[in-house]
Structure formats: structure tokens, C-alpha cells
């Protein structure tokens, strides 16, 4: 069974119903490790070695984060800058991530329609996520399509429940190795 490392990256989780819901949907499993980055590093002092050691024991890196300005929250960007070191993640002898999977679980206020060629933002979410795709590729990882929860501010209790179920299934599929 593949091991999943879930990175939760949200600077104000207490204000995000959608993200709390997603978090609660993750099943308790020996194969899932949860890492709450903003809780771990409130002062942004990321421990590079500790992060790298953790990654070595997992097969799937799952980043759960809101979409801020078409990208990730700052701590996640810093994490990428620091942890994915030359000679470790890429470059000469940088083969520690080879064959691992990269997947983003993203909540956005904007609806599905807003993120289309003709919509409010004028591009699809996939296009906005190009830097992440390329990052994963450069490290020799499999980049899986993101799991999107969109239009969060319009979701009522019932909608949230639906999304929760969908997410639980998605995780189970990952564990069963059906993807890839």
C-alpha cells in the first residue's frame, strides 16, 4: 500500500469551513501522515532535513491548500524553495523524489465557470498551476491532476457533505493505487 504524506497549508484554517471539512474527511490510516505546515512553522523556520526525511518514507505528496492569487500560500512556496534542494530533489545526484506522486487539493472561492477561457479569470486552473506541474516534473515525479473544490463561498451544508464524500473516495483510490 502506498504511503501518503498530506501537507495541509492554510494560514487561517479556523476561518475556512471548506478546508476543515476536507481535513475531517481524511480517513485514519497507518498509511497517511498529516503535516500541518502553518502549525508546524508559525515563524516560517522550515527544518529542511526533517522534511526531507519524512518525504523519503512516503510515495505520494498531497498538498491541500487554498488558491491565493492563482497560486499557493507563501509558506508552501517557501517549503518548495527550501526542501526541494539541488542535489537532493533534482540536479546531479538529485533523485530522491523519482517516481513519487505529486497531487494538489485546492479550494477556491471562484466557481468552475470563473476558471475557464471565457470565464472571469480567463484561464483554467490547470494553466495557473503550470509552475507546480513543472516543479514535479523536474524532480522526476508523477504530476496527478488536482482535486478541486470550487465556489466554496456558495457551498451549503449539503454541498459540503457531497464534496467530503468525493474527497474520501479520492483518497481511497490513491491508497488502492488505482491512479498511476
Amino acid at each position: 500500500m502506498p504511503k501518503i504524506l498530506v501537507y495541509l497549508v492554510h494560514p487561517s484554517l479556523e476561518k475556512s469551513k471548506a478546508n476543515q471539512m476536507l481535513l475531517d474527511s481524511i480517513p485514519n490510516s497507518e498509511s497517511i501522515t498529516l503535516r500541518d505546515l502553518y502549525e508546524e512553522y508559525p515563524d516560517f523556520s522550515i527544518q529542511i532535513k526533517a522534511e526531507q526525511n519524512l518525504i523519503q518514507n512516503h510515495d505520494i505528496l498531497l498538498f491541500q491548500h487554498p488558491l491565493y492569487w492563482y497560486s499557493c500560500p507563501p509558506l508552501m512556496k517557501l517549503w518548495i524553495d527550501l526542501v526541494l534542494e539541488d542535489g537532493w530533489a533534482y540536479g546531479k545526484d538529485g533523485n530522491q523524489l523519482l517516481g513519487k506522486k505529486w497531487i494538489q487539493v485546492i479550494t477556491s472561492g471562484g466557481s468552475k465557470e470563473a476558471y475557464t477561457k471565457t470565464g472571469f479569470h480567463g484561464y483554467t486552473t490547470d494553466e495557473f498551476l503550470l509552475p507546480f506541474r513543472r516543479t514535479a516534473e523536474l524532480c522526476g515525479m508523477d504530476y496527478l491532476n488536482p482535486f478541486l473544490v470550487q465556489g466554496t463561498f456558495q457551498l451549503n451544508e449539503l454541498d459540503l457533505q457531497k464534496e467530503s464524500n468525493r474527497y474520501r473516495q479520492f483518497i481511497n483510490q490513491l491508497l488502492g493505487g488505482i491512479y498511476g
Binding site: 487561517s12 479550494t107 470563473a114
Partner: protein
């Protein structure tokens, strides 16, 4: 001397010094010459305020010289000597030997005996530490190449004084001159026993200095009495000189040795600054007496002789120095400056002249001429340097850029001085040290100093509110002074001192509470740190976390609170005298902070709403 006449004497001496010394300093002649001129003025040949007792006064004032040697000994730190060994031995040693040999050779030609010639050569090879170092410091040349070269030569000369004092009795023509002026205890012992006794006393001093002195001083420090400390420092010097005298070693040599032994002690700066005023005054008195006992008519009768000797000496010394400067590859402009700076004869020659007269090495009337010549050579130094700077130096300067070398030559050149090494200073010191910053630490708690010494911190014992102590700890080279003393009064005094004399040094100050912080702001401190503020708020942050607040949110709350607290501090500062307004503004600011916190901690229910969502519809 009756009591009243003693005070009258003191009145005359001090008055003349107070008038002449600042005047001489203003003219750039240095304080040594000021005292000398003051002595001449009150002496029997001008005003005649003091008569022939100038000679008795000399004997008393020679104790200033003893203290000076003690202070020189204190300055001799082994690592400084090791760092400078090349310049010290090479430049310093060669300068002394060459100048001595050439001067002695000329003296011999003029008909002196070879012993007198050698003594004369040794005396005249010394330069004036007081004048040269003062000049270099004033012109900011201490770190230039010429400054370093000068410093090395002077240091070597200072050290050479000791063997010179030891050699002099051997140069005496009469066989039965006692080593000291009084009868020593070991006079009738056979030679080998004498040596044995002297050796054991020296070893005794070393052992006492190493093992007994620090505990003894610590004990005194605990009594917390300033003047007892000063008394103990004086007692130490006097005891050493008496003890050495008793076994027939000169007091100067003995105290120098004592100084060297104590150079590595944590009480070094404290001793230095305790002795300083006595040393300064007694030395001043010594130069005064030299001036007062100078036989002006003899000098006036032989002007050509005096001037001939002066220019002979200046030329010879400068020539030797210049040649050595060439050998040691000093840049031309620096070399010339170095040669001119050290071409006078030093103040120590007055001591040696007196000494050689007692021993019968040199005749009294030739000494009078020589003393006058030395004084003139001193007076000419600033003039020569000024001329050189105004003419050639600037011209050469443009061609050869002045290089300052990496190697520092001062005793302590750390960029940070921490005053007060309690819990607070200690933390800060550890942080700076772990980042490779050199720190000098002063503390007034003897137990603490001892304990820190065991942990490998070089801590000096002393009261940081005293400017002279700060200066001997290298204040002039510091960039930042950390004021972390426990008492607010002491803090204020320290800060005022540093601000007044070294306005360019930045001061960071610890405050106990808000009131103290206001007081510090009042006297113009820019960087104020309330001791408990950060720690308390950090603790508050973690309490929030333990209550379930998310780390990052709690961290933001901490930063927001501190920022707000800073702003409030500065706003309330202006109102702090007006209690009513102060309280009302404080309340207002607190309420505002509460509102801010409430919003930020997410107490208000809100969905994750980005403002785009409104536009997207």
C-alpha cells in the same frame, strides 16, 4: 616640611600644572611638556616659588614612575606580544640597538668613558610614549602602517626599560654603589644567596598574583566599597615595590613584574583605572620636579651646545628609523611620518638621568644640558609633524594610498562592549558570540565574573559607569555599547558618559519596565528593550496555542500586539507627565487593541470569502 607649608607647596604645584598643562595641550605640545614648563616657571630660576626641595620632591614623585611601569606591565598581554612579534623584535629591537650603538660611539668620540657612553646611548634611544601615542590617537593614525610601526617600537622600548634599569648599576664607575638607595636586607649575603632570595621573591609574587589576588579582590568587591578597592590597588603596588626594595631589586623592576603577572587577571582594567589618577598626578609631579630642578642659567649660557645636541639627536634617531622603515618596506610617506614621530627623546630619560647621577655614571652639569635638550626635542616633535603634514605628507599621500592593515594592535578592539552580564547580558552575549562577533564584557559582580571565567568567557571586573574603565576596555574601537546594568541610575550614567564623549557609538539599552524605558527615551536612547516584554508575550502566544488557537494565528497575534505596544509607547511618551490624559489615551489604545485582536483571532464567524467572489457573479 610643616603641615601648612605642605599645603602651600601643593597649592603652588597644582596651580601651575592646571594653568600650563591645558595650555601645552592646546598648543599640541603634550602634557609632559606642560608639566615641565610649569616646573620651570615655579622653579628657583624664574619665579622661585619652590626652591631646592625640588630634589626631595623628585624622590617622592619617582613613585609615579614606578606606577607607570606597573601600568606598562599590565598592558603586556601575551597574545598582543605574539601578534606583534615580527615588528616588535625586528623594528623595535633594531631601533634600540642601532640608536644606542651609534649614539654611544659619538659620545665616546666626545670624550666620555665607554660606560657613560653606553648609558647615554641607552637613555637617548628611547622615545616618548606619551607624546607619540597621544598624537597618533588624535590624528586617527593608530591603525595606519606608521601607527603600527610606531606602536611596536614604543612597546619594545617600554619593555626595554626594565633590562636597562638592571644594567645601569653595572655601568657605574664606583664599585660600592648599592643597588637601591637604602640598605637592603641581603646586602651582606654572598652572591649566590642574593640571587636565590631575589628569585624566590619573584616567584612568590607570581604565585600570589596568580592564586591569592583574585580571591582577595573578590572578597573586597563583595564589600562593595569603591575606595577600599582603590586602596587595595595602591597597597598592591606599594607592597611589591617595598618587598623588592628589601631584597635589593629596584622598585620599578618589581612593580613591572607585578604588572605582567596581573595582565591576564580579570581585575586588570579595574586596577588600571584605579591606579590611573595617582599615576598621572605623580608622573605630573615628577615632570614638574624635573622642570623645577632644571638649572636654567646653565642652559642659557650654552645655547649652541643644547641646540647642537637636540638637532644631532633628532637627525640621528630619524635617520636610523628611516633606514629601518626602508628595510621593513614601509611606504615612503608612512616611513617619513614614523621617523619624525619617534625622533624625540622620551620622558623616561628624566628618570634614567636621575638614576645615572645617583650611580655616578654621568656628571650633574652635563645632565642639566641633556635634560634641556630632551625637553626641546619633545617640544619640537609636534612642530616637525605639523610641518611635514602641511608640506610633504599630503603630496606623497596622493601618490601612495594609505593602507590600513587588518591586524589590530590595540588591547581590545571588539566591536561590541556589553556592560552588565547578568541574565540578560548573558543571553545576548551568547547569541553574539555564536555569530562570531567579538565582545568585551564588563561586570561588577565578582562572583559572576569568576564563574563566567570558568565557562570560558573573558569578563572584566569593573564599574562600567566609569569612562576610564570603558576606555581601557577599548571603547574608542567599539561600534555598539550594550547597556544592561541592573540599576536605572547606573544605566543613565553610563549612557550619558558614552553619548557625551563618543557620540558616534550606538547604544542599545535594556529597561526593566515601561517607566525605565521612558526615562531612557528621555535621555535620547534610540534602541530600548524592555526586559520582560518579548518573553511575556511569547508565553502569551503559547497559552493561546494551548487553548487551541492555531500556531500561526497566535504568532500573528503576538506580532500585532508587540507592534501596537511599540506605537502606544511612543504616543504615550509625550503625555506621560500628564496623568489624566495619559490614562485616557492608554485606555483608548487598549480598547482598540482588543478590537483588533478580536477580529484577527477569528472570533467573528466568517466564511472564506475572497472579494473576487463578488466580482465573479
Amino acid at each position: 616640611m610643616g603641615e601648612s607649608s605642605f599645603f602651600i607647596q601643593a597649592l603652588i604645584y597644582l596651580t601651575s600644572a592646571i594653568i600650563m598643562v591645558p595650555l601645552a595641550n592646546r598648543l599640541g605640545l603634550g602634557s609632559v611638556l606642560g608639566y615641565l614648563i610649569a616646573g620651570i616657571v615655579i622653579g628657583p630660576f624664574v619665579f622661585g616659588f619652590v626652591g631646592t626641595e625640588g630634589k626631595d620632591m623628585l624622590h617622592f614623585a619617582e613613585f609615579g614612575v614606578v606606577m607607570m611601569l606597573f601600568a606598562i606591565g599590565l598592558e603586556l598581554e601575551l597574545d598582543l606580544l605574539l601578534r606583534l612579534k615580527f615588528w616588535l623584535l625586528g623594528l623595535g629591537g633594531l631601533q634600540l640597538v642601532l640608536t644606542t650603538v651609534i649614539t654611544a660611539f659619538f659620545s665616546y668620540l666626545f670624550g666620555f668613558s665607554w660606560k657613560s657612553s653606553l648609558a647615554l646611548g641607552l637613555i637617548l634611544s628611547l622615545s616618548s610614549t606619551a607624546i607619540v601615542l597621544q598624537t597618533l590617537k588624535e590624528k586617527g593614525l593608530m591603525k595606519s602602517i606608521s601607527g603600527q610601526a610606531s606602536f611596536s617600537v614604543l612597546l619594545f622600548q617600554d619593555m626595554a626599560v626594565i633590562p636597562i634599569l638592571a644594567i645601569f648599576p653595572m655601568l657605574s664607575d664606583s664599585d660600592n654603589v648599592p643597588v637601591a638607595n637604602h640598605h637592603s636586607l641581603v646586602e651582606n649575603f654572598p652572591g649566590y644567596l642574593k640571587t636565590l632570595v631575589v628569585l624566590s621573591v619573584v616567584i612568590g609574587i607570581i604565585l600570589v598574583g596568580k592564586y591569592l589576588l583574585s580571591p582577595f579582590f573578590r572578597l573586597l568587591a563583595k564589600s562593595g566599597n569603591r575606595e577600599i578597592f582603590t586602596g587595595a590597588s595602591l597597597l598592591l603596588v606599594i607592597a611589591i615595590s617595598v618587598l623588592m626594595g628589601a631584597v635589593g631589586v629596584s622598585a620599578a623592576l618589581g612593580t613591572f613584574l607585578g604588572g605582567v603577572v596581573l595582565a591576564s587577571s580579570e581585575f586588570r582594567h579595574e586596577l588600571e583605572s584605579n591606579i590611573e589618577p595617582f599615576k598621572g598626578l605623580l608622573l605630573g609631579l615628577f615632570f614638574l620636579s624635573v622642570g623645577a630642578s632644571m638649572d636654567i642659567p646653565v642652559v642659557m649660557a650654552n645655547p649652541t651646545k643644547v641646540l647642537g645636541i637636540v638637532f644631532g639627536i633628532i637627525f640621528l634617531k630619524a635617520f636610523v628609523l628611516f633606514i629601518l622603515g626602508l628595510i621593513f618596506r614601509l611606504p615612503l610617506n608612512q616611513n617619513l611620518y614614523f621617523s619624525l614621530a619617534l625622533c624625540q627623546v622620551g620622558e623616561f630619560s628624566f628618570v634614567l638621568f636621575g638614576y645615572s647621577e645617583n650611580l655616578g655614571i654621568l656628571e650633574g652639569d652635563i645632565i642639566i644640558i641633556l635634560v634641556a635638550a630632551v625637553a626641546v626635542s619633545m617640544a619640537l616633535t609636534p612642530v616637525l609633524l605639523l610641518l611635514y603634514e602641511k608640506t610633504i605628507f599630503g603630496f606623497l599621500e596622493s601618490k601612495a594610498p594609505q593602507k590600513t592593515t587588518e591586524q589590530d594592535i590595540h588591547k581590545q578592539e571588539n566591536p561590541v562592549i556589553i556592560c552588565g552580564f547578568g541574565k540578560f547580558g548573558n543571553m545576548l552575549g551568547r547569541f553574539l558570540r555564536s555569530n562570531g562577533i567579538g565582545i568585551t564584557i564588563l561586570d561588577f559582580d565578582a562572583d559572576r565574573v569568576e564563574m563566567l571565567g570558568r565557562f570560558g568567557f573573558k569578563v572584566y571586573f569593573g564599574d562600567a559607569t566609569r569612562l576610564e574603565l570603558l576606555e581601557s576596555a577599548g571603547l574608542e574601537h567599539a561600534k555598539v555599547v550594550v547597556a544592561a546594568l541592573d540599576s536605572p541610575e547606573k544605566q543613565a550614567e553610563l549612557i550619558r558618559n558614552v553619548n557625551l564623549h563618543y557620540p558616534n557609538i550606538k547604544i542599545v539599552a535594556r529597561a526593566g519596565d515601561r517607566e525605565e524605558a521612558y526615562d531612557l527615551k528621555e535621555i535620547g536612547v534610540k534602541y530600548i528593550y524592555r526586559e520582560t516584554r518579548e518573553t511575556a508575550v511569547l508565553m502569551g502566544r503559547d497559552v493561546l496555542r494551548l487553548l487551541g488557537t492555531r500556531s500561526y494565528t497566535a504568532e500573528k497575534a503576538r506580532n500585532l500586539f508587540l507592534k501596537h505596544d511599540d506605537e502606544t509607547f511612543h504616543e504615550l511618551f509625550d503625555l506621560r507627565k500628564d496623568r489624566v490624559q495619559y490614562m485616557s489615551l492608554a485606555k483608548q489604545r487598549n480598547a482598540e487593541l482588543e478590537r483588533l485582536m478580536f477580529v484577527d483571532l477569528g472570533q467573528e464567524e466568517e466564511l472564506e470569502r475572497d472579494s473576487w467572489s463578488e466580482m465573479e457573479r
